[in-house]
Amino acid sequence: MRYLSLIGARLAKSVLVLLAILVLNFFLIHMAPGDPATVMAGEAGATDEQFLEDLRERFGLDKPLPIQLMHYLGGVLTLDFGYSYRQQMPVLDLVMDRLPATLLLTGSAFAVSLLFGILAGTMAAMRAKRPSGSIIMGLSLLFYATPLYWVAMMAVLVFSVFLGWLPAYGYTTVGAQYTGLAYLWDVAQHLILPATTLGLFFMAVYTRMTRASMLSVSQQDFVKTAHAKGLAPGVIQRRHILRNALLPIITLAGLQAGQMVGGAVLTETVFAWPGIGRLMYESLMQRDYNLLLGIFFFCALLVIIFNLLTDLVYRLADPRIKEAA
């Protein structure tokens, strides 16, 4: 019961945040160069005065701002995000079309970075006094400082251009009509480079968090007790330290992972990955502001859903956390 009401509170908060983002979006449309009607028309219909007039009429663009805002919110509630005249499709359809590819990319990148980040961080914490630990931390600092898009380009250069091991761009091989397992294998091959390069930065973040968290847990009294009892160091590391260090890592990782959607814009641009990040780049190139802001809203929505999920998982995983939120 208590758990359900907590979920309710979190949901209510998320809805408020979404509303705030919509209001922000609305004002951004009004800040865009040109009058809102041309922005909504994506400048494509700018020559057709009648068409612009229709848009002004439909969205009440001659009415005061608060009324326009209501129009806008009403549209969004009925899942109307406007129309992209550049792409000749409703914004919602465009986004839904591209969403699965982005979810696949960010999901894989998240899984890879969390798994390897925790592994590397654990090793670095266990070898804190040895050179191997310093090497892991040095590498993670290096990945932390490398621009995401550049590491992606370098990976293409090495693994596609020089070595020819993996495809350099796209989601599937163009022209190949694979089905079943062959199709999955094809997509997996295309996924390896984008997911790994997007994950590297986050892996570096998780490595540092894991190490710091483990080192701070290892100073606690119950660890000293375990040592005093004569338990094997390996057992203490795994059962006592890692388990206790893991929970804060998972929460922080979940919050960080939301930022992956932003990083995906760069990765998808480099790899021509047909997700919403690539769509965002296309809308930038075409100055299709209405589409751009629609995508921005969906990015924020993804982050909110992800944060909500992390929160729920965390509370389920650690029943000691009652409220505090």
Binding site: A145, A212, Q259, L266, L284
Partner: protein, 283 residues
Amino acid sequence: MNPMTTSFMARFAQNRGAMVGLLILALVLLLAVCAPLLYPESPWRMVQRPFLAPGEVAGFPLGTDTMGRDVAAGLAHGAWVSLLIGLVSTAVALSIGVPLGALAGYFGGRVDDVLMRLTEFFQTIPNFALAIVLVAILEPSTSSIVLAIAVVSWPPVARLVRGEFLSLKRREYVEAALLVGQRHRDIIIKQILPNALSPIIVLASLMVATAILLESSLSFLGLGDPDTMSWGYMIGAARTVMRQAWWLSVIPGVAILLTVLALNLVGEGLDDALNPQLARPRQ
């Protein structure tokens, strides 16, 4: 020099990574300052055949790009842009985050509630996506880029400063200042803020690094100031010719990597030197 400063400098100098970082930064700064002297002409000017490899023609140590522009000149002018945008946007972010965090931490209660909800809101929005949207809507220029980076990077500052103020405001010297009738504004600025400075300095040095990465990512997407040559733009322009001329994307990338790495090393060094009692378990 007072003994605290000397001990700080001694601790900082002992950190090998931080010293290497400082050296790299000094070189980048030198390059940036000398750019107008070494390459007085605009880095956008065509000066030679396009696609010259590094060292192929004397006088063009790093070769030329797709349009026959001098890569070395671009690198030097880009250094200036990176450092400038990194520093200014961090300063703007601090000028938003420090006052908000200080007010929230000092007054608590409703003020704290409102300000922290605002901070959380900005932390929820995906950083990079918001920066893209802001620059695109405001039209790419140095000032819109600085503003966008500042808008997405102030929340951690506000949170940090709030935390410091929450713990510092219970100290006896603050109570003493209240007793002698100092105004809140003076207590915040003259009593508490100076004592909260060291973590702010550390965070700021890391923020400059993040800001440089952000700026380069925006320029890479074609959202750079169209009048200034930047490292991110150079990589973005070289993307389509990666197969023919890989060095065009490698060289500016290494420049970004080294600069950001150096700032991170300096930040870690400052952290260890300013908080010796909290020095992360290392040896």
